[in-house]
């Protein structure tokens, strides 16, 4: 299947859904109050975009998400590697991680206000909490599964512990870390709505929650479309970074194996 063909197939499903989205409320098969037709949402989206309002919300949301995501990466990657390589520490940390990870981002809101007041800091905190534990568990799992023979070989050949981490462990972990970061960025972006539910005056979450309170469903949907588009773009960008960084692996991996096996 050619690249263009793949894109067309992706676009066709989207197009079908958009047509349904327009027709069902227009034909009154769905109450337009519950689902405003696509053209009304598109008009609202365009109006928000042209006024510059939407851009400002996107930028501030992106900054919060990036701050929370970078904090999560800076904490989760070293901690994950450490716990992955030290079974004694890991055994002590695992129950705690197991309990903290399932706490959903909105559950942190009351504490975020108490600890960080109002404004950007609690929002960044919520994104950090919502991203870090999953990232940590992912990196930990990868670090755990490193074949210890590689490390032993390095040490036997005269590497110091520090060199073993830098020259053997990190390169071995890089693909897994990049994959985890990509998943993590998606998670961080998903947290943005929860993070902006409280005491902020800008951001996509703010836009959507204020619109919901005043029953402006077209604005809510315009916000959701924007969240989806930006999330998609972020994922695409990290995908490119991932492919560039892992260029050296090509040929050594069975790339596309699955696609060939399932793509009739």
């Amino acid at each position: 299947m050619s690249d263009l063909g793949k894109r067309l197939r992706g676009a066709s499903l989207l197009l079908v859904l958009l047509v349904l989205w327009e027709l069902l409320p227009r034909l009154n098969l769905v109450d337009p109050l519950l689902l405003p037709p696509f053209d009304r949402v598109a008009a609202r989206w365009a109006a928000l975009l042209m006024s510059g309002e939407l851009g400002a919300h996107v930028v501030i949301s992106l900054l919060r998400v990036l701050a929370g995501f970078v904090l999560a990466a800076l904490t989760a990657i070293p901690l994950g590697i450490l716990l992955g390589l030290r079974p004694a520490l890991r055994e002590r940390a695992e129950p705690l991680l197991g309990m903290l990870r399932p706490i959903s981002p909105p559950a942190w809101i009351p504490l975020a206000i108490l600890w960080f007041g109002i404004g950007n800091r609690p929002a960044v905190f919520i994104i950090w909490m919502g991203t870090m534990f999953s990232l940590l568990v992912g990196v930990l799992g990868a670090a755990r599964s490193i074949d210890s023979r590689w490390v032993k070989a390095g040490l036997t050949l005269g590497a110091s512990r520090r060199q073993a981490v830098r020259l053997v462990i990190l390169p071995l972990l890089l693909p897994a870390i990049l994959t985890q970061l990509r998943v993590g960025l998606g998670l961080a972006w998903m947290c943005v709505i929860a993070a902006e539910m409280v005491a902020v005056r800008q951001g996509l979450g703010y836009l959507m929650i204020q619109a919901r309170n005043l029953f402006q469903t077209d604005t809510v949907l315009a916000g959701m479309v924007t969240v989806g588009l930006v999330g998609w773009a972020l994922d695409g960008m990290l995908g490119i970074v991932e492919r560039r960084a892992l260029h050296w692996r090509e040929g050594t991996e069975a790339h596309g194996f699955f696609e060939r096996a399932t793509d009739h």
């Binding site: 769905v30 109450d31 519950l34 409280v198 005491a199 902020v200 204020q210 309170n213 005043l214 029953f215």
Partner: protein
């Protein structure tokens, strides 16, 4: 074309189910009326009518449901899960401004909202709030009278103070307590509770800037008005009876409120029902609804101001009073 037919069929089935959920349904004759209320002092007439069997006296089958938020009450009424809702007048106006097929038919209460500050703060009058942070819920019944009170004190709500938007009363109380905001627009019985606990002080009630201002209202789906006008009239007769009971029996009313809220104690709720704080009432005047809608439009909270005919239908109440 579709190599995994069962999956496609399953998806289609799910899609159809989702559509069925979005189509809503008209009320049927003898179905019990589903009424959505929240836990608030001025929703008491509905707890009273439920508890004291007033609905049965009218031969009316009702199902009074406690719903967590105003937004959810309107969403449920739009879907048709509820036929009657009780929520702040601002919520009803915002929904009608967006085309929700509902009409306001009666009031439940007046007043009860105001500004809360910390007991140890130096804020003595609304004019002292210049440059301060004030917690509010944008577009709500805590917000519109707040903006009006600020305006009257010579403060521009967007320029001279910093409005901080919240979604939950509890979060606003917490933020005020811990000093992250200087004042909070709030309501009863939370304000009286803060004073009784010693840390809070009621700066003023919005009844000072807008005497007897409307608070919560009763609204019904248009199709209920069209198809079962007798049921709406009976509902309003029980409402009037319950309002009269509440005003005549504050202690018993406080006891019933506590039972439904499952929070606070009877003394606190009775104190918060004092006439200078709030008033339970069913009467409603078109002019005050128009005034609220006009303010919401002026403050940019609704894009267009609905007409009086779109907002209100007072005929069932007039019939019920007779």
């Amino acid at each position: 074309m579709f190599p995994r037919l069962p999956v496609v069929r399953l998806l289609l089935a799910v899609l159809l189910l989702a559509l069925a959920a979005l189509t809503g349904c008209a009320p049927k004759k003898d179905d019990p009326l589903a009424i959505g209320v929240r836990t608030a002092n001025d929703h008491a007439p509905f707890y009273i009518a439920d508890k004291l069997g007033y609905y049965a006296d009218e031969g009316l089958q009702v199902d009074v449901q406690l719903i967590p938020s105003n937004t959810e009450i309107v969403e449920a009424i739009q879907r048709g899960d509820l036929q009657v809702g009780v929520a702040p007048i601002t919520t009803a106006i915002a929904a009608i401004a967006q085309g929700a097929p509902i009409k306001i038919v009666a009031m439940t209460g007046r007043g009860s909202d105001g500004l809360l500050v910390r007991a140890d703060s130096g804020i003595q009058a609304i004019g002292d709030l210049r440059g301060k942070r004030i917690a509010t819920i944008r577009g709500s019944i805590l917000d519109v009278p707040l903006r009006q009170a600020l305006d009257q004190a010579g403060l521009d709500p967007e320029q001279d103070v910093e409005l901080v938007y919240f979604n939950q009363l509890g979060d606003m109380i917490q933020a005020l307590k811990t000093g992250q905001v200087d004042a909070s627009s709030n309501t009863e019985p939370f304000m009286t509770e803060a004073e009784l606990q010693g840390w809070g002080r009621i700066l003023s009630y919005y009844t000072e800037s807008w005497p007897d201002h409307p608070c919560c209202v009763v609204f019904v789906r248009q199709d209920l008005l069209d198809q079962r006008p007798d049921a709406v009239q009976k509902l309003l007769r029980t409402h009037i009876r319950a309002v009269d009971y509440a005003n005549a029996h504050p202690r018993e009313t406080a006891e019933i409120i506590v039972e439904y809220l499952d929070a606070f104690d009877v003394d606190l709720v009775e104190a918060s029902l004092a006439p200078e704080k709030m008033r339970i009432d069913y009467r409603i005047v078109a002019a005050e609804v128009e005034q609220m809608a006009g303010l919401m439009h002026a403050y940019g909270l609704i894009e267009r101001q609905p007409s009086t005919e779109q907002l209100l239908d007072l005929s069932p109440l007039e019939a019920a009073v007779k």
